[in-house]
C-alpha cells in the first residue's frame, strides 16, 4: 500500500545490469571469475539508485505526506514502513538472486556464502543511507541526477567493505563483516531519525 507497484522495477533492473558485464568484459572465464563479486555489487548499487528516486516522490508530490503530517500520523511509522518495504523489494530479492548470478558470471562457488552474508549486511545499509538523501532532494529541480550524484559517495564505503568481505570470508577472517555490522548498527539508530527531521522540513 505504501509502496507503488513499480517496486519490482528495481529487481528487474538488477537482472538487466547483469547482462552488461559479460558483454563488455568479454566472455573469457578467467576475467569474469575475478570480477563476478564486484559486478554483483555494482548491480546492487544500480538497483538501489534506480529505486531511490521513487522512494518518497509520489507521497511528496501528491500531498499525501502533508496529509499524514496534518493528521498527526507519526513520521517514524512512515519512515520505518518505507525502509522495510524498500529493503524487501530491492535488497531482499537480490540477496537470494545473487548466488544464481554467481553461476551466470562464472564466479567460484566458494564465494556463495561470503556473498550472501555481505549482501545481507550491505543491502539494508544501502536502503538506510539512501533514505535521508532521497528525502533531502524532495522539491529540488532536476531531482533524479542530483540524487544519483549525491548518493554514490555515501555508498562507496559499503561497496568497498562488501566486496572485500567476500574475499576475507574464504580466508577465515571476518573483519569486514564486523565493520559492516558496526556501520549498520550505527546507521539504523541515526539515519531514520535524520530522515524524519528532513521529511518534516521538506513540507515547510
Amino acid at each position: 500500500m505504501l509502496y507503488s507497484n513499480k517496486s519490482w522495477f528495481a529487481v528487474s533492473f538488477f537482472l538487466l545490469c547483469m547482462l552488461i558485464f559479460p558483454l563488455s568484459l568479454g566472455s573469457s572465464e578467467g576475467l569474469l571469475k575475478k570480477t563476478a563479486v564486484s559486478s554483483i555489487w555494482i548491480c546492487v548499487l544500480f538497483a538501489n539508485l534506480i529505486s531511490l528516486e521513487s522512494l518518497f516522490k509520489d507521497d511528496y508530490q501528491s500531498g499525501i505526506l502533508l496529509q499524514y503530517k496534518i493528521n498527526k500520523i507519526p513520521f517514524s511509522i512512515i519512515v520505518a514502513t518505507k525502509l522495510i518495504s524498500h529493503w524487501t523489494f530491492t535488497g531482499f530479492p537480490i540477496i537470494f538472486l545473487s548466488p544464481i548470478f554467481l553461476v551466470f558470471l562464472s564466479g567460484s562457488f566458494n564465494d556463495i556464502f561470503g556473498l550472501f552474508f555481505s549482501l545481507l549486511f550491505g543491502t539494508p545499509l544501502f536502503s538506510l543511507i539512501g533514505m535521508p538523501i532521497a528525502a533531502l532532494t524532495l522539491g529540488a529541480s532536476t531531482r533524479g541526477p542530483l540524487l544519483i550524484f549525491l548518493s554514490i559517495p555515501f555508498f562507496l564505503p559499503i561497496i568497498i567493505f562488501g566486496v572485500l568481505s567476500v574475499g576475507s570470508f574464504n580466508s577465515g577472517t571476518y573483519s569486514e563483516y564486523y565493520l559492516l555490522c558496526a556501520i549498520l548498527s550505527i546507521s539504523i539508530v541515526i539515519l531514520p531519525y535524520i530522515t524524519i527531521k528532513i521529511l518534516q522540513e521538506s513540507l515547510k
Binding site: M1, S4, D58, Q61, S62, G63, I70, N71, K204
Partner: protein, 197 residues
C-alpha cells in the same frame, strides 16, 4: 467572548523562505461558523492554513478546543495514491481514521459508486476532489481547513461540496476556507472574513 470556541488564533505571524508572509492575524472560529480567508494570489492563504495545521513554523497562539486532536484538510493537491482504486482508497483511510460505519453511503452521496474499481488516475478533477471530501467525512473532525474547495469545479460538483460544508456547519463544526472567488453561499451572520495583505 465566553462562548465556546473551536479555534482561537491570536497574533499569528508566519515567516516562510525568510519573508514575512503575514503579521499579527487574530480571529476566532465558533461552532457552526465559517471563516473565509481573502487575499490575492501568493498572499499566504495556504500558509495560514498550514500554520493552523501546525506544519509551518509560526509565532503567536493557536488554541484548539480541548478534545479536538485532528484537523481535516483538503488542499490543492488531492493527496491520493494515483495507481490505486477507490476501493483501496477507502480501505486504507478507513483504517487510519478508525471509521467503523459503512462507507457505501458516502460513495453514494458523491456519485462514486460506479467507479469503485476504477484507478484514481483515471478519475476527473471533480471526482478526485470529491474523494478528498469523502476522506474528510470519514475523518469526522470538528474543524475543516479547506484550501480553495470549489475552484475549478463544475456547477453540480460545486453544489454537492457546498451541501457537505453546510451540513458540517449545521452539526456544529467549523470551517476555515480560502478562496479567491466570493463564497456567498453561507449565512452572513455566521461568516467571518479575514483579509491577508
Amino acid at each position: 467572548m465566553s462562548k465556546k470556541y473551536l479555534l482561537k488564533v491570536k497574533n499569528l505571524s508566519c515567516e516562510r523562505n525568510y519573508k514575512i508572509i503575514f503579521k499579527k492575524l487574530s480571529f476566532i472560529l465558533f461552532p457552526g461558523n465559517i471563516i473565509l480567508v481573502d487575499g490575492e494570489n501568493g498572499a499566504g492563504k495556504t500558509s495560514l492554513l498550514l500554520c493552523v495545521a501546525d506544519v509551518l513554523d509560526y509565532t503567536g497562539n493557536i488554541l484548539v478546543k480541548n478534545g479536538i486532536d485532528n484537523l481535516g484538510y483538503v488542499g490543492h493537491k488531492n493527496a491520493l495514491f494515483e495507481n490505486e482504486t477507490i476501493f483501496d482508497f477507502f480501505a486504507f483511510w478507513k483504517n487510519i481514521y478508525n471509521y467503523t460505519k459503512n462507507y457505501q453511503d458516502v460513495l453514494e452521496y458523491f456519485n462514486l459508486i460506479d467507479f469503485i474499481e476504477t484507478p484514481i488516475s483515471l478519475l476527473s478533477f471533480g471526482q478526485k476532489k470529491k474523494l478528498s471530501f469523502a476522506r474528510l467525512i470519514m475523518m469526522n473532525s470538528k474543524i475543516w481547513l479547506l484550501d480553495e474547495p470549489i475552484s475549478g469545479l463544475d456547477e453540480k460538483t460545486k453544489q454537492i461540496i457546498l451541501k457537505i460544508i453546510k451540513k458540517h456547519l449545521s452539526q456544529g463544526g467549523g470551517v476555515l476556507a480560502t478562496s479567491h472567488q466570493n463564497l456567498n453561499y453561507f449565512d452572513i451572520n455566521k461568516t467571518t472574513r479575514v483579509k491577508i495583505d
